[in-house]
Symmetry: C2
Subunit: 106 residues, 2 copies
DNA sequence: TATATTTGCAGTCAAATAGCTGCATATATG
DNA sequence: CATATATGCAGCTATTTGACTGCAAATATA
């Protein structure tokens, strides 16, 4: 479980996507995050580690607690990959708009 | 290799991302796609199947050749996931802008 | 100080992944 | 019709994944 570790691999897992979404609202401790899942605390902790390793999460200590928070900028790597495709589907939608307009004019 | 099969899992593999990018320009046959990689034709073909299964690719026949083309709209699922995070990193960038403006004014 | 809580790390295991080869099928081409 | 080309499918294998449990360390709390 030690080789590929990038943003794309990180968001491939639905549990990890849920964790990311959960952290859009506020920073949380591993315990608090794990409380929302059926999996064991250690399993969730491992997911958190993976997210942290590829810098999707940052953390800061507060006594024995560790608060994990989003690093949303890192998500930009995914947005950058999507961007060129976005242009393509926009084009298709625009073409559809054109067709609809022409139909209306008839 | 038969269970999870969604867009996020599909783009987790770098080879599959390369295939998708390759197909932004034009529809291609499996043979033509495979020619761009070091992996075997069958291996690339399997990646194509995976992309097709989750509807990221469509295909049409031309004699014995099969042309695969992008279905960019399907990529929107990823964009939709990214969207809320985009707001967050935009906020941070905007805040940075504010700070820079204030520094300039001093 | 003794005990409880929060967390990370190491180890195990079944299932999934991604690569390979071999073979069958369908369509061009000579 | 015989051969070459394009493709998909089945089966094998090493590696990776994601789940689990157990344990150690650090910090609160009684």
């Amino acid at each position: 479980m030690e080789v590929r570790r990038d943003v794309f691999q990180a968001i491939a897992d639905p549990t990890r996507r849920a964790i990311l979404t959960m952290l859009t609202l506020q920073a949380l401790t591993p315990g608090a995050i794990a409380a929302n899942f059926n999996s064991s605390r250690q399993t969730i902790s491992k997911h958190i580690q993976i997210l942290a390793e590829c810098e999707l999460l940052r953390h800061h200590y507060s006594g024995r607690e560790i608060y994990y928070q989003l690093n949303p900028v890192k998500m930009k790597e995914i947005a950058d990959f999507i961007e060129p495709f976005k242009a393509l589907w926009d084009t298709r939608l625009n073409q559809l708009d054109e067709i609809l307009k022409q139909l209306k004019n008839k």
